[in-house]
Amino acid sequence: MRSFWRTLDHGSLRDISLVCLADAIVGASFGAITVSGGLHPWVPVTMSVLVFAGGAQFAAAGVVLAGGSPAAAVLAGLVLNARLLPYGFAVADTVGGRWWTRLLGAQLITDETVAFTLRQHERRRRRVTFWTCGLALFGCWNVAVALGVLAGTALRNTGSLGLDAAFPTVLLALVLPSLADRGTRNAALAGAVIAVAATPFLPAGLPVLLALAGLVLAGQPAAREEEGRPADANPALEAR
């Protein structure tokens, strides 16, 4: 056990703790906002264990809370989580060769854990970082969501508390770092205009998917990223 902790330096452990804390706050908001918005308490809790991807959880719950169909919610969540595909290839060697470490490790793949893992260059350190960060985040995230659910069920009259502004604000804080890239920003702004303009005419959930038409403005890659690495330096607020 002592050699395990020596593998990770203090700086890495501190960074991992900070990301756990940041994610716990996002998780608690997720639990509180979804339940106070009207979803049954087991929905955010089950989603957090099984889906374990903050951005997609917020997106799917948001579509449902806006009155959209479950199919649109699932589709939005899956489009968001498609980015986990290249992450899986980037950390494939780190996750290990035995079948059960692959099955378990796969569930722990998130923006944050992949970013921290790829920052390490030595093989053993990578492995320890992946499992430490992945398991810690999984624990913090799910406990925080459950606590948020408890807090959310206690809240009444969420409109006068301004809680309906919390949901888009959380998402905005998550997405802001990736908008630093100009091509991404153009595509995202075009998509947002399309979605808002389409809202009066389409059933809830579809305008957000229609926003993907903005992708034609994405332009050429900036060609600076390592394979499968999350593009931004601020993993704490990445959309998971």
Binding site: G77, L84, G88, S178, A188, A195, L212
Partner: protein
């Protein structure tokens, strides 16, 4: 949100995650696809921000909510801590409603 929807979302997400560890020696993700997936994430999240901030049902949500989101976004841009960002947004909206702005 029905359990089936959560199950489908979870299964699809897990498949995206597991493909790399299982197929790592047999295939590779092209750079263009990686880039496309990253941009698609930002596009979808931004569209969600815009619709959730501005619309309610199929109409305008009122001024209080987008104003709160704007305050939160400005604080996030200035790298304010996450709880400050969220609380400031909700507080702005709440105060505006208190003064009679819907």
């Amino acid at each position: 949100m029905p359990l089936l929807a959560i199950a489908v979302l979870a299964a699809g997400t897990y498949a995206f995650r597991l493909a790399g560890p299982v197929f790592r020696h047999r295939m590779r993700i092209p750079d263009r696809l990686q880039r496309l997936l990253a941009v698609a994430t930002a596009v979808l999240l931004t569209a969600l921000v815009a619709t959730a901030a501005l619309t309610q049902g199929d109409g305008f949500a009122g001024w209080a909510r987008p104003a709160g989101v704007l305050v939160g976004g400005a604080l996030a841009l200035r790298r304010a801590p996450f709880p400050v960002v969220v609380v400031a947004a909700a507080a702005t909206t709440a105060v505006l409603r208190l003064t009679g702005i819907p």
